[in-house]
């Protein structure tokens, strides 16, 4: 089975929502949405509406600017309240278009696409507001424009979903398998590649089965020239990290400082390909996404399809959570997600899950001295030496930390996870990286 070396095996906790079908959030509970006009990456979009305007779901309400920006659409029908600053999951204020729901159930579809040729599909992806939905939120239209001097032969669909708790891609594969695979074919055509591999971790057996029932798919990598390959990957974190996934599937190693295209690969998240299908074949822009709402503090953890801009507190209420038992609220997965300090935070296009974890699940222990056991280095998928980067960072000697390759660290968290002394290695590494970036290190 395909995999990579090193990494860790956190308890996957997927059973809480893996059997829960994707439900629509019951209308009325999302009385207001707060749609961020800039996502994590990309320029701010130009707002087309003003307070008092009545908009219909699917209507374009902000136009893309710059080469990274994408269009933004009304995720519900209602009246625009205005543009106001709201805190997002990363902890900074972002301008959000606020829409108050009305009882209009209409939907504005996009025009039919001219053709499924590369440039038309890429324009459609930008106009449908699609960005990477796995968490990093990198604009998809930009990713698919491979520079002319690079030869790409593989499209890899990232459906590893290696973070614990999250099931949104898993459920999409089970319930919408045809659309996921077709979406991958559309993307492959736009990029101009023949070989398509969908990588799924083995703990999602039901999803793998569902994908294999789609015509012209195969689990055998030898059929890669003619069929879409559904490749079973070992359940291991961080199998879904872009460079790691490329290594696991193709054995190619992206050289330091280079991009996937340099080794002939384009990697797209599964939810994103599903969204591409909706945009191209059903003329639907990105107005909603699947979000796993899970954690021990919830009575009814669920997978919801929610309008972009829905507040976390609406999802929390719908899952009957008990706030007294919540210890950490995490946007994203427990390995790389961000803790937030409020539930008044809108769902963004990259929000794959929201976790309400109890003290027991976090099991926070105080850190003690480094015993030099080397566990961090033995699990680092990038073969770095976190113990030295940690100690030099704490000493304030960032230059030496840089010699150990600290800027290559992708902050996957394996080192902190494995550390028996419970040292916050990622934290000190981030500190050093931030200081080094200020000095111009890359």
């Amino acid at each position: 089975m395909s995999s990579f070396r090193k990494g860790v095996h956190p308890h996957d906790c997927k059973e809480m929502t893996s059997q829960k079908s994707i439900e629509k959030l019951i209308s009325g509970e999302a009385a207001k949405v707060f749609i961020p006009i800039s996502q994590f990456a990309g320029e701010k979009s130009d707002v087309l509406v003003q307070a008092g305007d009545v908009v219909t779901c699917g209507q374009c309400i902000a136009k893309a600017t710059g080469k990274f920006g994408v269009d933004i659409h009304a995720s519900i029908s209602g009246t625009v309240v205005g543009v106001q600053k709201e805190i997002t999951a990363v902890g900074s204020y972002v301008d959000c278009i606020v829409i108050e729901k009305n009882d209009d159930s209409g939907y504005i579809f996009m025009e039919n696409i001219k053709s499924e040729e590369s440039s038309d599909v890429i324009t459609r992806i930008k106009e449908a507001g699609i960005i990477g939905m796995g968490g990093a939120s990198f604009p998809t239209h930009f990713k698919l424009q491979v520079p002319a001097d690079k030869v790409v032969d593989f499209l890899l669909i990232n459906a590893a979903e290696c973070e614990p708790y999250i099931n949104c891609d898993n459920r999409l594969m089970i319930e919408q398998s045809i659309k996921c695979v077709e979406g991958a074919r559309i993307v492959a055509k736009a990029v101009g590649v023949k070989k398509i591999v969908i990588g799924v971790e083995e703990n999602k057996a039901e999803a793998i089965e569902a994908l294999l029932t789609v015509p012209n798919t195969s689990s055998d990598i030898k059929d890669v020239e003619s069929k879409v390959i559904i490749l079973k990957l070992k359940t291991k974190y961080p199998q879904g990290a872009e460079k790691i996934l490329i290594k696991a599937i193709t054995s190619r190693e992206v050289p330091t400082g280079k991009l996937p295209a340099d080794v002939g690969c384009v990697v797209v998240n599964l939810h994103t390909t599903y969204q591409v299908f909706l945009a191209v074949r059903e003329n639907r822009p990105l107005t909603e996404r699947v979000v796993t709402v899970s954690g021990g503090a919830l009575e009814n953890p669920s997978n919801f399809i929610v309008p972009i801009g829905t507040l976390y507190e609406d999802l929390f209420a719908a899952t009957k959570g008990d706030m007294d038992t919540v210890c950490e609220i995490i946007s994203g997965g427990p390995m790389m997600g961000f803790t937030v300090f409020s539930t008044r935070i809108p769902v963004a296009k990259g929000t794959s899950s929201i976790l309400f974890l109890t003290e027991k699940e976090i099991a926070k222990e105080s850190s003690s001295v480094c015993i030099n056991c080397g566990k961090c280095a033995s699990v680092c998928p990038l073969k770095l030496m976190p113990m030295y980067m940690d100690s030099y960072s704490i000493e304030g000697d960032f230059e030496t930390a840089n010699k150990y390759g600290i800027m290559k660290c992708m902050e996957c968290g394996c080192c902190s996870f494995a550390c028996p002394a419970k040292r916050p290695l990622v934290q000190s590494i981030r500190l050093a990286k931030k200081a080094l970036r200020k000095k111009g290190a890359r």
């Binding site: 995490i330 222990e365 030496m385 113990m387 028996p420």
Partner: protein, 351 residues
């Protein structure tokens, strides 16, 4: 709303802890402790318990004097005491464990900053210090009890020197190089029914503990395997006979050193490549001291000497990270070390 934690990722962590690792080491040492207790009786066991007690008390007093939090809760002092106790000849006078324990904890461990900061293995260093200071006591070994009744367990050691004997390695040293004296068969050495230190006579008991540690992923397999096979290989080279190779592997402190002392986290290298070189260095010095040097035992010397080279390894052998191409240093090192061992053993044992 309760209190919310805002924290840097990752938000979950493994169940492993420093304390858990130390517990595993203690569990892994139990077979050797039990075999030693059976072979040498209650007095020998009580000396080991005294070593542990001394280590724990020394660390407590040290922390009290420095007015810092007491660190004995991580169990590392117990591990040091236990390993040192197993390293001592069975019938030492009571002050030997006390001096050894204080030396190991106060001078080797705490003076350099405590857990994770010691420059060499505390137990190995204490053993060498005791050996150099009390040569007679530290080289007087006894044959295991020949049980005639249950009372023998309590009545040993007999108060005469009549039972004193040399260890197989000592005999090997005393005898001329051509006339190797096999006091015991190799099988007895493997089981432990030979003269020696309290806890290091039974290679089998130590091997069981070692395999437990490897299975629990507390230690890696490379250091112990390279030390054991490397010692056999150098045994062949230095002694020219298969018997020398086997004697070096089965008798003396090789197994306890390979599995429990050379693998000490703070004093062994952090990367696989360095570990292989480090382990081969221990094997080489061990055989060098045993076969050419003046002492019958070389393991503790070898471990300390390799320990103090670790900062050099860690400084100069930095593995290539992901995306930087093939790690040729690692490849060449592994091929060279394992190739050397394999060829030497093949030539020695087959031809």
């Amino acid at each position: 709303m309760g209190k919310l934690l805002v924290n840097v990722s990752p938000h979950v962590s493994s169940k492993e802890s420093t304390k858990g690792i130390m517990k595993d080491v203690i569990i892994a040492l139990m077979p050797a402790t039990l075999v030693g207790t059976y072979l040498f009786g209650l007095y020998a066991l009580s000396m080991t318990l005294l070593t542990i007690l001394t280590c724990v008390l020394t660390e407590t007093v040290w922390n009290k004097v420095r007015k810092v939090e007491n660190t004995i809760g991580d169990y590392s002092a117990i591990v040091t005491g236990l390993i040192l106790g197993l390293n001592l000849p069975p019938y030492v006078p009571f002050y030997i464990p006390i001096v050894g324990g204080i030396f190991a904890i106060a001078l080797v461990k705490m003076l350099f900053g405590g857990l994770g900061r010691n420059f060499a293995n505390p137990a190995a260093t204490a053993r060498v210090m005791l050996l150099l200071s009390w040569v007679g006591i530290m080289t007087t070994f006894y044959s295991p009890i020949e049980y005639t009744g249950i009372m023998d367990f309590f009545s040993y050691p007999p108060m005469t020197d009549a039972f004193a004997t040399a260890t197989p390695l000592g005999l090997d040293k005393a005898a001329s190089a051509t006339a190797l004296v096999w006091q015991s068969t190799a099988m007895e050495g493997f089981l432990g029914n030979i003269a020696g230190s309290f806890g290091e006579t039974s290679a089998l008991a130590l091997l069981m503990g070692g395999i437990y540690l490897i299975a629990r992923k507390v230690i890696g397999w490379k250091i112990p395997v390279v030390i054991i096979l490397g010692t056999a290989a150098f045994g062949v080279l230095f002694g020219n006979t298969v018997e020398t190779a086997l004697t070096n592997v089965l008798f003396g402190g090789l197994f306890i050193g390979a599995f429990f002392m050379a693998t000490d986290y703070s004093t062994s290298p952090n990367t696989d490549t360095s570990r292989v070189i480090y382990a081969l260095m221990i094997a080489f010095i061990t055989v060098l001291v045993r076969e050419i040097g003046g002492y019958p035992e070389g393991m503790s010397f070898a471990i300390i000497l390799a320990n103090i080279c670790v900062p050099l390894f860690d400084r100069y052998i930095i593995p290539k990270s992901f995306g930087d191409g093939r790690d040729t240093v690692a490849l060449v090192t592994n091929v060279a070390v394992f190739g050397f061992i394999a060829i030497t053993l093949l030539v020695g044992f087959v031809l």
